[in-house]
């Protein structure tokens, strides 16, 4: 922990992610404006004291929309991470531990990974129908094979370790060995991987909702705010620029967290700072 706090980039990342999370959780308290309430009189207000991030083409408060957008983005990211943690670990552990399953599971994973990430996510959401729940499902499906590969690699290393061999020699069952001996070894790379997945998921969700495949208007997401603001980018650049910057800051923060965790938790991968 001490080493994490000394890691400057990790601290920067925590602050960025912390701010966005704070905004997302306390969105109701930080703004009294309803992110969906339209008002003709307040269209295209530039950022001011009254409207911190300005207003959009329907006169809605951008501050409120970006905050509620943060809530949705982080929830979607978290959903993808949770599903990844469950299924990625399961598939990775099975493939790494049971040699008979390895080949087939990894060929399927390879097939999923043969599709470009966004394209497959788009394909799946397009089939399931556009909504934020489907975006979570699609992104989880796309990233799970990647997480599974990371887990599998650590399991392969762990299962050959001497104390695992010893546990087996003492007659411990497969599940017990996996739970007690193999999984703890996978935690560090898994946590690092999931942090990066969080970053990618937030970024990819924005792409999906920019294309109209995420949560549907009037529910605000960073992606659909940018898509709507696009037409007015010359007259009212703040509509597009601000959510983009918040999105970039969030992804940057998560990337920094991932870097910091990797440097500290997984020194094998350490990149000298």
């Amino acid at each position: 922990m001490r080493r994490l706090l000394r890691h400057k980039l990790f601290v920067t990342g925590s602050i960025l992610v912390g701010l966005v999370t704070f905004g997302a959780i306390f969105a109701d308290l930080l703004t009294i404006a309803d992110p969906t309430r339209m008002s003709v009189r307040t269209r295209f207000e530039p950022p001011s004291l009254e409207y911190i991030f300005g207003t959009d083409n329907f006169g809605r408060s951008q501050w409120a929309r970006v905050l509620y957008g943060a809530r949705l983005s982080l929830m979607i990211g978290l959903g993808v991470v949770v599903l990844n943690a469950i299924f990625g670990t399961l598939v990775g552990a099975l493939a790494g531990y049971f040699k008979s399953l390895d080949n087939i599971l990894m060929r399927v994973a390879d097939a999923f990974m043969a599709f470009p990430v966004i394209l497959l996510a788009i394909g799946i959401t397009a089939a399931l129908g556009p909504s934020s729940v489907n975006a979570v499902i699609a992104l989880a499906a796309v990233y799970t094979p990647r997480t599974a590969r990371v887990v599998r690699a650590s399991v392969l290393v762990a299962r050959e370790m001497e104390y695992v061999q010893a546990a087996r020699a003492c007659g411990a069952g497969d599940w017990r060995i996996i739970r007690r001996h193999v999984m703890p070894n996978c935690m560090a790379p898994l946590i690092v991987q999931l942090t990066f997945i969080f970053a990618y998921a937030v970024l990819s969700e924005a792409v999906l909702s920019f294309l109209g495949l995420g949560a549907q208007p009037p529910t605000p997401t960073w992606g659909n705010i940018i898509a709507e603001g696009r037409q007015y980018i010359r007259e009212a650049p703040w509509i597009t620029v601000i959510p983009g910057l918040v999105l970039a800051a969030t992804v940057l923060g998560l990337n920094l967290l991932g870097d910091g965790l990797r440097d500290v938790l997984d020194p094998r991968l350490k990149v000298q700072q």
Partner: protein, 316 residues
């Protein structure tokens, strides 16, 4: 080397099979009756029936699956519902556009990513290193569609240096192509450039710590040979392996970027197919792109074996 190539080929075949299965399954994911979803609200029962007929949705699952594969082997991926044309035909026709842009973006990524990474590694911990790595980190975090919009405002609208939309065939007017594709290529490349710079830097630092670098210095070789020959070839090994991934991500980004820049490529084709639920195009387009990338990766593996002699000899 030949044996190695055959081994890789044998590995690709089952993956290709699963890839085609995934593409097929997309249609099965559509909740309810896909024909009704495709026809949209307000379609007459006759129209729905027609679509159902066209897509073979009346058949039981296994018949659909078999006919999908039967058609696949004949090189038939179905007909676009919107364009009324063969899916392979429309996709292949637009492929050079997307590939040319992705390739342009790849070249930008490789040149700048590798150079940035090497400079940062050689000046480790200096201000140059920190500046380059900050740029790389920001590049990694920028959403490409947003970057594209900002670049359009800056370079097309305000400065008027480059067109904001459209495409020019490179065989007709190369300079025009370059002008039309620079902003899209830069928007696509930024993220990967940052990633590659970071990979290159850490690999270079790792390689520079190796014993054989000390040997090269002990032999009296000048620093530019030590770095430019002995270190660089070893750095290129992991870099070559990520080229496939980079290209895949670049191509993946083309859906959004081509839509934004109104470029008539596979990306914008898929983009509009998605919005109008033209499932045969979505399925076929995805399958073609994935197949292409698999073959590309196969090529890269072979290239990798060339760079790293250890791989060739059965160490798999």
């Amino acid at each position: 080397m030949i044996a190695y190539i055959i081994r890789r080929l044998l590995y690709v075949i089952p993956v290709l099979f699963v890839v085609s299965l995934i593409s097929f399954s997309l249609m099965q994911l559509v909740p309810g009756d896909p024909a009704i979803v495709i026809a949209g609200t307000g379609a007459s029962p006759a129209e729905v029936a027609l679509i159902r007929e066209q897509l073979g949705l009346n058949e039981p699952f296994h018949v659909q699956l078999l006919s999908w594969y039967a058609n696949l082997f004949r090189g038939d991926l179905g007909t676009s519902l919107l364009l009324g044309r063969d899916v392979i035909e429309v996709t292949v026709e637009r492929l050079p556009v997307s590939l040319s842009i992705a390739f342009y973006a790849l070249v930008l990524t490789l040149i700048f990513g590798i150079i940035m990474g090497i400079i940062a590694a050689l000046r480790q911990n200096s201000w140059v290193d920190q500046a380059v790595m900050t740029v790389a980190l920001i590049g990694v975090s920028l959403p490409n569609f947003w970057l594209a919009l900002i670049l359009i405002v800056l370079f097309a609208v305000e400065l008027g240096w480059l067109p904001s939309a459209g495409y020019v065939d490179y065989r007709v007017d190369f300079v025009g192509w370059l002008r039309a594709t620079t902003l899209p290529a830069v928007s696509l490349a930024m993220l990967q450039m940052g990633l590659l710079a970071r990979i290159t830097r850490s690999t270079m630092l790792e390689v520079l710590r190796q014993d054989y670098i000390r040997t090269a210095r002990a032999k009296g070789l000048p620093e530019h040979v030590v770095v430019g020959k002995h270190a660089l070839k070893n750095v290129m090994i992991p870099v070559v392996t990520v080229i496939g991934i980079i290209f895949s991500v670049l191509l993946s980004g083309s859906v959004v970027i081509e839509t934004i820049f109104s470029i008539p490529g596979v990306g914008s084709l898929l983009g509009s197919a998605i919005l109008r639920r033209d499932y045969p195009v979505i399925q076929g387009g995805l399958l073609l792109v994935a197949t292409m990338l698999l073959l590309l990766n196969l090529l890269i593996d072979i290239l990798y074996a060339y760079f790293d002699p250890r791989v060739r000899y059965g160490r798999d």
